[in-house]
């Protein structure tokens, strides 16, 4: 009997407040709403942090690529045997570095809309999953470009006595400095990327 009266009262507008079942329905709605914003709250915070990190990574990668591209030095003397000009296109690895980091920067710019979507809809899993998958692929590209350039820069600083490779930094000081700072900037971008992937993974968790 009590149950039947409960079903009748649920059909009425919400001005009826006396029945207990209606209060239960109200509480459930409230709990559901609070749970949505609570889950959405911290996920939205993570998405905003993700967006800001992406902006920082864009700045870092564009810096790295352009510094490497414009690193050039010409020594004021010449002989018949040795070239005294150094540019990024003298090294195949640095050419790869410039192109790969430029691709990473354009990917980051293209992924900004996805990041904005995750801010607007923090509970949706699909944009985050897409971001995580493409971030993982691009972080490998960025890491390999940074590491290959770092190997060549290490060789330019220290040389290798076993293979008779002379360190060229003793002659091309400015070129070496510019190239080393480009490698450091791209390594910072890789660290940002790793944090981005971890944020996406944490935010994918469903309650």
């Amino acid at each position: 009997m009590a149950k039947e009266s409960t079903t009748i009262e649920v059909g009425e507008p919400s001005t009826v407040t006396k029945s207990t079942s209606h209060v239960v329905v109200d509480e459930k709605k409230k709990k559901g709403f609070v749970a949505a914003t609570a889950g959405g709250g911290y996920k939205r915070g993570l998405a905003i942090f993700d967006f800001l990190l992406r902006l920082a990574a864009i700045v870092t990668t564009i810096t790295a690529s352009s510094v490497m591209y414009t690193a050039e030095e010409t020594l004021p003397f010449f002989t018949q045997f040795l070239q005294f000009q150094a540019g990024y296109d003298d090294f195949a690895t640095f050419q790869f570095f410039v192109i790969a980091i430029a691709m990473v920067a354009s990917y980051l710019v293209l992924s900004l809309p996805f990041s904005i979507v995750t801010i607007i809809r923090p509970l949706a899993a699909a944009p985050r999953l897409i971001l995580l998958i493409s971030d993982t692929v691009v972080v490998t590209l960025a890491t390999s470009a940074a590491a290959a350039a770092a190997a060549i820069v290490y060789l330019a600083h220290n040389g290798n006595p076993n293979t008779n490779w002379l360190p060229i930094c003793q002659q091309f000081g400015d070129f070496c400095q510019a190239v080393s700072s480009a490698v450091v900037a791209s390594s910072i971008a890789v660290v940002f990327f790793i944090i981005l992937i971890v944020i996406s993974a944490i935010a994918l968790k469903k309650h």
């Binding site: 985050r128 972080v139 996406s200 993974a201």
Partner: protein, 187 residues
């Protein structure tokens, strides 16, 4: 009430179906981890056991080539050894993921560690690849001459050991993606 019971029965069937899919994902991850372990350990061993001594010598140039002579190759061996040790140590965790149902927190930990390992392995493989490219082709502008013209079998072996490492990088990326898909599934 009856409709409620039918709903409960349907959701439990749905949960069973989803549980089967996650179990398949977890088994696939376990297999991928084993394959990646074999790839990294074979790369490390192949690079560490290459050496070549040419049968002649002069005062000026050494005619012995080893992985110790090039720091990038040493880093490659160390990185591959570390990643293969990591993969072996996380095999029990991957096995637990097959058996258990609620695995989200440990999967997040696994993703974080996997991303760190991908970074380490990719940087080791890339720096070794840069040095191997230089050994094959040399560089005219800096007077770095191509070492491979003298050390043929050494060059072949170090080029071959890079392949296993690159395959392991791809497998680790797949593992990260699978873990992410498993976390985002609704069960």
């Amino acid at each position: 009430m009856k409709s409620g019971q039918a709903e409960i029965a349907e959701t439990s069937k749905g949960i069973q179906k989803r549980g089967l899919m996650s179990r398949r994902i977890a088994i696939f991850e376990f297999i991928l981890r084993i394959i990646a372990f074999f790839n990294t350990i074979s790369s490390a061993i192949l690079m560490a056991t290459t050496n070549e001594t040419l049968p002649f010598f002069t005062q000026f140039i050494r005619f012995h080539a080893d992985y110790n002579d090039l720091p990038a190759l040493t880093f490659f061996v160390v990185a591959n050894a570390v990643v293969s040790g990591y993969l072996i140590l996380t095999l029990p965790l991957a096995f637990v993921h097959i058996v258990k149902n609620k695995t989200e927190n440990s999967r997040i930990l696994l993703i974080i560690l996997d991303v760190a390992m991908v970074g380490l392995l990719a940087s080791g493989a890339a720096s070794a690849a840069a040095i191997v490219y230089l050994a094959h082709n040399g560089n005219n502008n800096t007077n770095w001459f191509a070492v491979c013209q003298q050390f043929n079998s050494f060059c072949e072996r170090i080029s071959g050991s890079l392949i296993g490492s690159f395959i392991a990088v791809v497998l680790l990326i797949l593992l990260i993606i699978l873990s992410a898909i498993a976390i985002s599934r609704r069960h």
